[in-house]
Structures are given as structure tokens and as C-alpha cells.
Amino acid sequence: MKKSVFIGALTAATLAAGVAGAATLDDVKARGELICGVNTGLVGFAAPDANGNWSGFDVAICQAVAGAVLGDPSKVKYVPTSGQTRFTALGSGEVDLLARNTTWTFSRDTDLKLQFTATNYYDGQGFMVRKDSGVTSAKELDGASICIQTGTTTELNLADYFKANNMSYQPITVDSNAEGEQQFLAGACDAYTTDASGLAATRAAFANPSDYVILPEIISKEPLAPAVRQGDDQWTDIVRWTVYALIAAEEYGVTSANIDELAKSTDNPEIKRLLGVEGDLGAMVGLDKDWAVNAIKANGNYGEIFAATIGEQTPIGLARGLNAQWTQGGLMYAPPFR
């Protein structure tokens, strides 16, 4: 009898402790807050200002999802994650969504049990060097010391690239972008390598950005995408279609300024469906009718977000390039909303 009581208590305790909740949407709604895993600090993508308010390209994704799910883009709690801790944070249920310059790869998608939603930035790995080093090509980096963030795909690309070009290098391992920046500025490494967008963002924060050059070689494909846990299809759909809603909004000319007016006046059936004037796409993913409106209102459409955080008018100064709309020769292409 004692034994059965013991086992019963054990089972009860286990059930109470539970498994990371299956329905993330319910959890988020019950909590009234979206917990978003972001970078520890990469200007333009995710960085807190002096008052602790986060902003940036990845942060805008968090806010759009919060807008779509909770109707209020400010209801986000940001959890800074390093390259090392990010997947554990997501897998353990510490964060609902990982919007943190994370490259979509086969093994992460399958073996790490992540679900990448929709690519929000097509990136590639580059190198940054001091201008006075006289290096103009990554092929001239034979024998160099290179700062590299640990726990990233770039770490593996770097090894592959130098091997393929029959060159040697000395890896200087750093844990975060801030540490890499510091080591690079102190001269502990000849080159700093990470995603080209990250390099641009890092360089923008330097005292003298013009003393540093980003080499022309892009040595890898780095499609950066917000990720969620595998096994919760509804939540995956919500995040994926929120990103697509932002991209589609740019394609159809829906901006944060004209969205309310457009919702009343438009004749375009696709826009009507997107904005919930016609049909009820929101209900299909368990959200309100105006989910997309709230998502777009958070920080505007994809183009607006890009321009405000990392675009050519900002200190980071990234061109749209591959991230332009498909109608303009880029890769941003949202599937139809119907």
C-alpha cells in the first residue's frame, strides 16, 4: 500500500511539473505577454536603449507577433540569449519565440527539433578587417587570427572556407558580439567574421567606422529566420504568417500610416482578406479578425521595418539586395493570403 501511495505521489508530482506546454498560443494568451528570445545586443537587430527599451529588426518581429496574438505590440518580454544559450532557451520553453539572427539549417531544423518559420533576412557570412592592414580580399587572410563567435554556423563555415582555399588561420573564440567587437578593436584578431549584416551593424557602433572595411567575399548562405519549438503547428503557423503578413503588406503597399484608411477603401480582395475585412483568416489560426492589422501597426510593413532599423538611412546602412520584394528582384515573397 505504501508503495502504491508513493508511486501515486510521484506520478502526481510529475504531472504537476508537466512538460513544456503543448499549446504555446494558450500559454501566451493566459500570460498576456510574449516571451521573445533576442540577441544580447546587436545594434539594428536587437539592442536595448538607455531606458531599457528594445528595438531593432528582430525585435520588430517579436512586436508584430505580440500585436497579432495579444493585440498589443508592447506586451513582449525580451530575453537576451547568446549563440550558446539560444536553442536551450527555446527548447526548454523559456522563450516562446526566437528572433535572433538564427540561420536556418538542416540539422537545426531536424536534429535540434526547431521549426524555422519564414526567412526574414537573407544573409551571408563576411569578414571585416582594419583598413590599414591593406587586406582587400578574404583570400589574403592566410595565417590570420580571426575572431569568431562560438556556437554559430559561421564557426563551421569559416573552417570549411579556409580548408577549401587551402589556407590556415588561428581561431580566437568569443562568446558574444560585444566580446568579439572588443577583441577585434584591441587588435587581438586580424579579422572579425560573422553574418555580413552583423558586421555592418557592429561597424556602425565603432568610434571610427571608416577605419574598417568589410571584405567583398560572402562565403556562405545564411537565411535568418525566427524559430519556434517543433511540435506546435498552430504556433508555427502564427509566427510564419505574421512574418508573411508584413512582407505581403509591403508588396500591396499597406503601411502603418494608411492601413486604417485602406481597410475601408480598398477594392483589392487580397488586401481585404489580409486585413480581415473579408473572410476570417485569423480564426483559422486561432486569432482575431484583425490580427494582421495589429501586426502591421506595430512597426509598419517589412519595408518600413527594414528602413527604420537597418536600412540605408540608418547608421548601419544595409541595402535591400536579396531582401527586396520579389517584384524588385529580391527574394521576399509571401505566399497568397487566401
Binding site: 510529475t14 527539433k113 587572410l141 587570427s145 573552417a159 587588435g187
Partner: protein, 421 residues
């Protein structure tokens, strides 16, 4: 006649006796605690299994056989990114052991010196050592490691400062003795090079140079011979009361054979040469390693100093007075009378300091020195996503290292402890 008042009638066993009867109480408590502990462990294991299932993950170590794909800056054994995660683990493990080993030696030497000096009659010396101990002991070791790295990185010039300007024929900074270059990445020192090689022995771990092996063998032989010489000297001393001078014999036995061997092999230092971005040819001792080693040694030395001081003070004052009465000078009193007795008190707490240092070496990640935590618990864990496997394996390895250290030190302790007859 009185009877003893009530040896109680046999009333049978009541359940409340389990709590109120002192004969049973301790047993009851132990059993309850045992069940609670078992329950907690069972809950942990069950919860882990359930969560792994929910995530669709399994628990296996096959990733150790897969290609690692990443590079390691300072490997003691041959390693490249085509080798397996298991090999990377080994590289990290050796780095951990290497820095811990050197750290323990440095901390002990430094700690003993400081501990002894702290008891010095010289006011200034004693106070300075007190300041050292209090400063290093009361600031977290991580900060010392970071400070050491910051100093090395900020103070030393970058390698390209050593570049000779073609126009003037001069470099901005010149190498120390033409052979040592301090840079903000590493210290380039000459490596040992042999003109004639005996070849090398391939083991699974690393190729062992036969030249090196030959030198070690010669030194070992010298050690045995000097031991015999000393033994003989003791014998003569016991017989005649006069100890023959052996120092020149010993010196000759140590130096001559080795000198002959290395000359035959054609030893010469290979000096570091600046080529492109970095120094090549010589050995580059990375700043990360030096910072970690210095931080750990300086910090642990403060604790060891206190242990040594306590050990010395535990030796009764009569011992040193007796030694002085026999005419021993203070330095010999310390070396021959006090320290051997103090060792008994010093060794046991010293073991925990060695264990601490070894475990603290996992702070290497802060300076980018890839030890076990950096390879297995860092990059491998991240690239394979095997958190549970990597962390449990890492814990197991640290446990084994610690048990080995404390086992070895316990053997040593048994040899020096007071033999009571």
C-alpha cells in the same frame, strides 16, 4: 520490599511508537528521508524522460563519433576540423589538465613562499603579503582572469608592430633577445628543434618524438644514478660520520649525459619569425592561456598561503626553539624542522585547493581558451544540440579528474603524515 515500578507489561507494538519511541525514531526518520530522496531522484529522471520524449529527442552518444567541423586554437595534440567530436573532447580535456597542472604547481610554489613570508619578522614584508592574500582572496577569480587578459591584450603591441619597415630597416618594436616577442595575442617563444631526428612513435593520441623520449630516458637514468650516489654517501656518513661531497658528482651525472645526447641530436632553438599576420616557426603561447593560468594561480596561491601559514603556526613553538638551541639557522629550521611537520596539517586542505583550481579552470570560456567546457560543453554541445549528453559527460569527467587528484594527494598525505608507533 519495593518492586521496580512498571517495566511496562508487554502491550504489543503500536504505530505511534515509530515516532515517540526513541528506539525506533531514528530508523523512521532515516526511512522517510530515504523515500523522499528516492522519490525526488525518480521524479527528476521521469521528468527528464518525459520532456525528452515531448521534444522528440533521444539520449545517445553517437555524436562523439561524428565530424566536429570546427577548429581549436590551442591544441596540445594534432587536431583538425575533420576529426571527430570525441577527438575535440580529448583536446579540450588535455587543455583542462594542462592548465590545471601548471596552475597547481605555480599556486603551490607561490602560496608556500607567501605563506612563509607572511610570518616574517620583517614588518614590511609581512604586511605586503597580508595585503596580497586579502586582495586576491576577496575578489572573484573570474575578474582576475579577465584583468590578466585585459592587461596582456592592451599593453602588448600587435604582431605587425614587429614588422620590419622596408625603407628604414627598423621595426616599431623589437624582440626580446631576438627570440621572444610579446604581442597582444600570444607570446612567441623559440621552439626546440633537432637537426637529426630519431623518428617518431605513432600513438593514437599523438606522435611522440623519439628524440624527446631519448632525453627523458637519459634523465631517468641520471636520476637513478644520483640516487645511488646519495645512498652511498649516506652509508659512508653512517659508517664514518663524515659525508663525502657529492654535489659535483651529482651535477656531472645530471648534466653530462643529457648534454652529450642533445649535442649528438643537434639541438638548436627555432626562433619565431613574423610571416604575414602572425609569428610562425616558434611556439606561440596564447594570452588566453597565460591569463587563465595566471589568474587561477594568483588567486589560489592566496588560499594556499593561508593554509601554509596555519600549518606552520600549528607546529609547536618548542620545535623551533629546540632547533635554534641545536644551532640551526632560521632558514634550515624552517626547511628541516618546521615545514616537514607543518605538511601534515597543510596537505588535506591543500587537496581541496587543487580541486578548486581544477574546477575553476572551466572559467576558460571567458577568455576563449578552449578547455573541456569550451569544446565538449561549448561548441560540441551547441553544434550537435546534445545538451543532456554533453553536460552529463562533462560532469562525469570533472568528477573523475577530481577523484583522481584527491586520490593521489591522499596517497601523498599518507606518506608524510605522522607515523605513530
Amino acid at each position: 520490599m519495593t518492586t521496580a515500578p512498571d517495566a511496562p507489561e508487554h502491550q504489543g507494538f503500536r504505530l505511534s511508537q515509530l515516532i515517540y519511541d526513541t528506539r525506533y525514531r531514528s530508523m523512521t526518520i532515516q526511512i522517510v528521508v530515504l523515500f523522499l530522496v528516492m522519490g525526488f531522484v525518480g521524479w527528476l529522471v521521469d521528468n527528464t524522460i518525459q520532456n525528452l520524449n515531448a521534444l522528440g529527442k533521444d539520449f545517445n552518444y553517437s555524436f562523439l563519433g561524428q565530424r566536429a567541423g570546427y577548429d581549436i586554437g590551442n591544441a596540445l595534440i594534432p587536431y583538425n576540423n575533420d576529426m571527430t567530436h570525441g577527438r575535440a573532447l580529448l583536446v579540450g580535456l588535455l587543455n583542462t589538465l594542462w592548465v590545471s597542472f601548471l596552475g597547481c604547481i605555480a599556486a603551490t610554489v607561490l602560496g608556500v613562499i607567501i605563506g612563509v613570508l607572511r610570518l616574517s619578522k620583517n614588518w614590511l614584508v609581512a604586511r605586503m603579503m597580508t595585503i596580497y592574500v586579502e586582495v586576491f582572496r576577496n575578489i572573484p577569480v573570474l575578474l582576475w582572469i579577465l584583468v590578466a587578459l585585459a592587461l596582456l591584450t592592451e599593453v602588448a603591441p600587435s604582431p605587425n608592430q614587429y614588422k620590419v619597415n622596408a625603407a628604414t630597416g627598423e621595426a616599431k618594436t623589437s624582440m626580446l633577445f631576438e627570440s621572444v616577442a610579446f604581442t597582444n595575442r600570444y607570446t612567441a617563444i623559440p621552439s626546440i628543434h633537432f637537426d637529426r631526428s630519431l623518428g617518431s612513435l605513432d600513438t593514437a593520441l599523438a606522435p611522440i618524438s623519439l628524440n624527446f623520449l631519448a632525453i627523458v630516458l637519459v634523465l631517468l637514468a641520471s636520476w637513478f644514478v644520483t640516487k645511488a650516489v646519495n645512498k652511498n654517501a649516506t652509508k659512508v656518513q653512517a659508517a664514518t660520520g663524515v659525508r663525502p661531497t657529492t654535489w659535483w658528482q651529482n651535477a656531472l651525472i645530471w648534466l653530462l649525459p643529457v648534454a652529450i645526447v642533445v649535442t649528438v641530436l643537434g639541438i638548436n632553438p627555432e626562433e619565431p619569425v613574423l610571416k604575414g599576420f602572425n609569428f610562425t616557426k616558434g611556439t606561440n603561447v596564447s594570452n588566453a592561456f597565460v591569463a587563465l593560468w595566471a589568474g587561477l594561480s594568483l588567486y589560489t596561491a592566496a588560499f594556499i598561503a593561508e593554509i601554509v601559514r596555519a600549518g606552520i603556526m600549528a607546529v609547536s613553538k618548542g620545535q623551533s626553539e629546540a632547533a635554534f638551541a641545536l644551532g640551526l639557522r632560521p632558514s634550515r629550521t624552517m626547511r628541516l624542522v618546521i615545514l616537514p611537520q607543518a605538511l601534515r596539517v597543510i596537505i588535506p586542505p591543500l587537496i581541496s585547493q587543487f580541486l578548486n583550481l581544477t574546477k575553476n579552470s572551466s572559467l576558460a570560456i571567458a577568455v576563449g581558451y578552449l578547455d573541456l567546457r569550451g569544446t565538449l560543453g561549448g561548441i560540441t554541445l551547441n553544434q550537435t544540440g546534445r545538451e543532456l549528453e554533453a553536460i552529463t559527460l562533462m560532469m562525469l569527467i570533472y568528477l573523475v579528474i577530481s577523484l583522481l587528484i584527491s586520490g593521489g594527494m591522499n596517497i601523498f598525505n599518507n606518506r608524510v603524515k605522522l607515523k605513530e608507533r
